[in-house]
């Protein structure tokens, strides 16, 4: 890994200031940032450790909960209130990576992690999303990629994103009080390849779920029984008569699905047709689980 400087600011304001410097990178648990720095996918002049700056912990917020951005994924998974009232989120958190990575990873880091496309992560290739010209996946092996055509066919990896999207979560940053989780994400464009819609120096401080659903569940399929990114993950939350369905593993961004037609807009690509079946199954399972 290339050398960098390190700071651990004690306040959001100080962190924001440090992050405004060119080459500064925000770090939560570092479980995604550090592998990217190791492989040269990103460079860092300074790593700004946010764990002492942004809040950690789960607080009641009216009917709902406010989750500090630096809360460990494991702490979300084992919170009894979470399991009781926001089952989909506890289940999704419990399915992330491995026990150790859950102890390390933060909620904000999980939401802001980069895609897992094996070309994006390749140390010797610079694909379109990394600023190059070619989407290697489309001409190469995209067996685990998305169902949606586009410049980039990689898929949203964050389990928490699916759950929080289904739960109508809103995000708070140091600059904005609250906005829907969906707006944390953007589709990369030719002019701007970033997929996280934050400004320089803007950082996530909390995620709030305004109210508990009447029922919720997370269904996911991986490549082995444990410690695998989701090939596809579907979160369902029922609020009265309305069911919100959200999926990862199928398109660039965490995606809200229409319960009546979950496959809409997801035709599948040459090597990913099989995922339509998987998505359909998980959707049905999730719907069945929330009644």
């Amino acid at each position: 890994m290339k050398p960098f400087t390190y700071s651990a600011p004690a306040s959001v304001a100080e962190a924001a200031e440090r992050l405004a410097a060119p080459g500064a990178r925000a770090m939560g648990g570092g479980t995604d940032l550090l592998p990217q720095l190791q492989r040269g996918i990103r460079r860092a002049g300074e790593v700004v450790d946010l764990r002492g700056a942004v809040p950690a912990g789960i607080l009641a917020a009216g009917q709902g909960v406010r989750i500090g951005a630096a809360t460990r994924v494991a702490d979300v998974a084992r919170d009894p209130d979470m399991a009781a009232r926001f089952a989909v989120l506890a289940q999704a958190a419990g399915a992330v990576a491995s026990p150790q990575l859950r102890e390390m990873g933060t909620v904000a880091g999980n939401l802001c992690q980069a895609v897992r496309c094996w070309y994006y992560r390749h140390p010797d290739l610079t694909c379109w999303l990394r600023g190059g010209d070619t989407c290697y996946a489309q001409v190469g092996d995209h067996r685990k990629h998305g169902l949606e055509p586009g410049d980039c066919i990689s898929v949203a990896p964050s389990d928490l994103a699916a759950a929080l999207l289904a739960l109508r979560a809103v995000v708070t940053t140091n600059r904005r009080e609250s906005f829907p989780l969906a707006d944390l994400y953007r589709k990369a464009t030719a002019g701007d390849r970033s997929t996280i819609a934050l400004d320089d120096g803007e950082l996530v401080t909390a995620v709030t779920v305004p109210e508990p659903p009447d029922a919720s569940a997370y269904m996911r399929a991986g490549e082995r029984a444990a410690w695998s990114f989701a090939l596809c993950g579907v979160a369902a939350a029922r609020f009265g008569g309305e069911v919100r369905l959200a999926a990862i593993g199928v398109s660039n961004l965490p995606r809200l699905l229409d319960p009546a037609d979950p496959l809409a807009g997801l035709p599948g690509l040459e090597m990913t047709g099989w995922k339509r079946r998987l998505l359909e199954t998980l959707t049905q399972d999730a719907l069945a689980a929330v009644g």
């Binding site: 050398p3 491995s98 026990p99």
Partner: protein, 151 residues
Amino acid sequence: MQLRLTINDQRHELEVEPHRPLADVIRTDAALTGTKVACGEGTCGSCTVLVDGRAVLSCLTLAVACDGADVRTVEGEDELLGRLQAAFTAEDAFQCGFCTPGQLLSAVALLRANPRPSSAEIRAGMSGNLCRCGAYPAIERAVARAAGEAR
């Protein structure tokens, strides 16, 4: 950067570059080579240690981010770890033994949080430590045995 670490109750004052992983500092600066690095990228669990009680991957932890922390490795002395070491021996829960230090530390964290885990809980709690020799059935038995032998 200046770094103060307590590793297995021993205080260390170290001068460490910010980009160095905790695993490297434990193995090189503190010369405790029980902690293994099999991948260096968070994908195997061999480097698992306890930092302030949490089982974490020391290869993806910056040493400088652990200033003032309490670190426990396989070389540490502790009743639960000792019980697990005896159980791993009795059940033949390793072959080459390269994954074993990481397995042991994960097992310590698991049993601290859940002293009487079910088989499913052991399998979930130990799923972040790969063993290519395939000692898993014995590892499961060893963790259960150590739990059963709690005073």
